[in-house]
């Protein structure tokens, strides 16, 4: 029973940790499959977390907040697309810019709306993302321990399915991947490379924003300066780890979340492991897994290369 309880806790916590990463990672999957490197996920996630918490607070509706988080980051995604697609920018540089702009704007606006504070006001529980399954699952059972999650968790995993389906089973997905692999080939067949890249990069912002929103509206109940601190980069790593595939990213996020959950679990047992070593474990684990099991990851062939029509 105790074993099952522990397992329930670890799985449940894994899901909680993985969710914001997963949304953001899927954002990365979208953008990079269309051939645009998005290192600005961190900035987008931060801005999304802020916008979600703010709109959530003022509207009292978590769904509006969640959407606003996506839209706000979608705006940053638009900027990134503008630079990378229209102006053929160096995509890494533009991403770095987003990483300064996102948090900068978030904190600046936060001070404007929240009385000089770099954090938003706390949301009461009824203004947070709901837990629909809370009451359906019987109290104290294993299933409940695992699945007693915010709705955002289920949304993230549904999104994995949707994006997998989109990329590998639909017309649009075929075109997205074609544009990421060989934009010129797609162009010669009348596929509008710019439009598809715009769409994907903006969507990548939207998903990163959802990732941020699932932090500020579900895991926590407000936005503050260090809420995201590095998760966007972890999500980026997870996407590479997952070989640029939605299901791969999901596995990577789960592994990462599980490492975090294990950290907490071990910290709660009597084992005298220094706190710092527990905290660094997930990162070491990720490196070890990359060394041993994954091998060389292959990005979409044209990932990171601007497509310039007239200079072939």
């Amino acid at each position: 029973m105790a074993m099952l309880n522990s397992l329930g806790f670890i799985l449940g916590t894994t899901l909680m940790y993985a969710t914001p990463l997963l949304f953001t990672s899927l954002g990365g999957v979208m953008s990079e499959n269309s051939g645009v490197v998005n290192i600005g996920l961190e900035g987008m996630m931060t801005f999304g977390a802020f916008a979600a918490a703010t709109v959530g607070y003022f509207s009292g509706n978590p769904w509006l907040g969640f959407l606003a988080g996506g839209l706000a980051s979608g705006f940053l995604g638009f900027l990134h697309a503008l630079a990378c697609v229209t102006f053929a920018a160096n995509q890494v540089v533009s991403g770095i810019a987003i990483n300064f702009l996102g948090p900068g704007l978030a904190l600046f606006l936060s001070r404007k709306f929240f009385d000089g504070a770099t954090m938003t006001y706390n949301l009461p529980i009824e203004m947070k993302m709901p837990k629909y399954f809370n009451n359906m699952l019987p109290e104290g059972t294993f299933v409940r321990q695992v699945l007693n999650q915010d709705i955002s968790v289920f949304m993230a995993f549904t999104l994995v399915l949707l994006i997998w389906f989109l990329l590998y089973r639909t017309k649009l997905g075929l075109r997205i991947r074609a544009v990421g692999e060989h934009p010129k080939a797609a162009d010669t067949l009348g596929v509008n490379v710019s439009r598809i890249r715009y769409l994907c990069v903006i969507l990548s912002g939207v998903f990163a924003g959802f990732g941020g929103a699932s932090m500020s509206l579900a895991v926590a109940s407000n936005f503050f300066q260090t809420l995201i601190s590095g998760q966007g980069f972890i999500a980026l790593a997870a996407m590479i780890f997952g070989k640029w595939k939605p299901h791969g990213a999901m596995v990577a996020c789960l592994i990462f979340g599980c490492a975090q959950a294990m950290t907490i679990f071990i910290g709660g047992t009597g084992l005298r492991v220094p706190q710092e070593f527990l905290s660094m474990a997930p990162y070491i684990l990720t490196l070890v897994i990359l060394m041993g099991f994954v091998g060389r990851a292959v990005a979409p062939a044209s990932d990171g290369i601007p497509y310039i029509k007239d200079e072939s």
Binding site: G43, V93, I98, L101, T226, F233, S279, Y283
Partner: protein, 374 residues
């Protein structure tokens, strides 16, 4: 002369200057929209940087580690690697410098270089881990350096708390005076020093800051990096690998070794920045709750400096000034959010990313001017 200026502005430097100007305009617009007087804000910033000699000293102090982390990122970029890990290398460098600085008891002439080299070497080793992982396992350096940053952070926190090294909660013991590079560190607190400085208030003001020889080291490193990259066979080899590793391999260059070596050097620079910060400013290390951003600022600096060594020097000074001057805008009379600085930095980098836009504008202007002349 006119031709020279024209060439300057259509080149990379022109793009950079243009981006900085746009950033100030954008920053101003945002401040205006938010209800602040941008002119006043900028005046406070400028006054904050240039108003007093000691403020300039502060800007230089702030700039010192940033110049070097910028160099670290730029060096890696020039050799085809993206070093997001300058942050971690900085942390490792500062940790080892603090340990060497505290536990070793040596005369300053030996101690100072030893601590510096120790920190730099540790940073180098940290960096070369990422290089090795890339060369041996093909792990992208972006992932590995992100992971290594966090590992460095927690390792650092562990060291801070080690019994015997922790002076009090969350803060380690100070390094020995013999490892300190702050100018007149003890003398300025002594009776004689105070009396002398009392008579020379401006110098007193300047040396009140933890002004240290770190900036000189930074300038030397800038020259060294420039020299290595452009004048030595080592630089030639690393750049060849950076530009085109297939051709380099074809030409008989050992690509894997070069990747490790180049991450080692980039890491050494990151570590050196950390060591100098400990030796000159902080004198101890303390528990980090989150990344401090030296490495991430370094990325922006490398980009603004166009990945050239001297570019990093100027971009670093710009950053130092923005950071020190920018912090002043939060106090009266303007009370503006200092995050405007990050927005401005982001804007600079953003426009640097799109030189095409700026070139288009320049071309368009020239064309218009040409039409006007005709």
């Amino acid at each position: 002369m006119g031709k020279f200026i024209k060439r300057l502005f259509s080149g990379t430097i022109g793009v950079t200057i243009f981006s900085i100007v746009i950033a100030f305009i954008m920053g101003g617009a945002i401040l205006l929209l938010a209800g602040y007087n941008p002119v006043q804000v900028y005046m406070v910033m400028i006054e904050g940087v240039f108003g007093k000699p000691k403020n300039m000293a502060w800007s230089v102090i702030k700039a010192t580690p940033l110049i070097i982390t910028g160099l670290s990122v730029a060096f890696a970029f020039r050799t085809g690697l993206f070093n997001i890990g300058a942050e971690g290398q900085f942390i490792v460098g500062s940790t080892v410098a603090a340990l060497f600085g505290y536990y070793l008891h040596l005369p300053p002439l030996i101690h100072i270089p030893l601590v510096f080299v120790g920190g730099a070497f540790a940073g180098g080793c940290w960096g070369s881990i990422a290089g090795y992982l890339k060369a041996r396992f093909g792990i992208h350096e972006v992932i590995s350096t992100i992971m290594l940053n966090w590992i460095a952070l927690y390792g650092h926190n562990y060291v801070v708390g080690m019994p015997g090294f922790a002076r009090r909660t969350n803060i380690s013991c100070d390094i020995q005076d013999s490892a300190c590079i702050t100018l007149f560190k003890n003398w300025k607190f002594s009776e004689v020093g105070r009396t002398w400085f009392g008579a020379h208030p401006i110098l007193r003001d300047i040396f009140k800051t933890p002004l240290n020889s770190g900036f000189l080291v930074a300038v030397l490193l800038v020259i060294l990096v420039w020299y290595i990259l452009n004048r030595t066979t080592l630089g030639y080899r690393l750049r060849a690998v950076g530009f085109n590793k297939d051709a380099a391999e074809f030409g008989g260059i050992n690509v894997k070794k070069s990747i490790v070596l180049s991450m080692f050097i980039a890491g050494m620079l990151g570590g050196a920045a950390g060591a100098l910060q400990v030796m000159g400013v902080a004198r101890n290390i303390s528990t980090l709750a989150a990344m401090e951003g030296y490495g991430f600022d370094g990325i922006a600096i490398a980009l603004i400096g166009n990945n050239s060594a001297f570019g990093c020097l100027f971009a670093g000074l710009l950053f130092g000034a923005l950071k020190f001057g920018g912090a002043r805008i939060q106090s009266p009379p303007v009370r503006a959010p200092m995050e405007i600085i990050n927005i401005m930095i982001g804007t600079i980098v953003f426009f640097i990313a799109i030189p095409r836009l700026i070139r288009m504008i320049i071309r368009w202007r020239e064309k218009r001017k040409g039409d006007g002349d005709a």
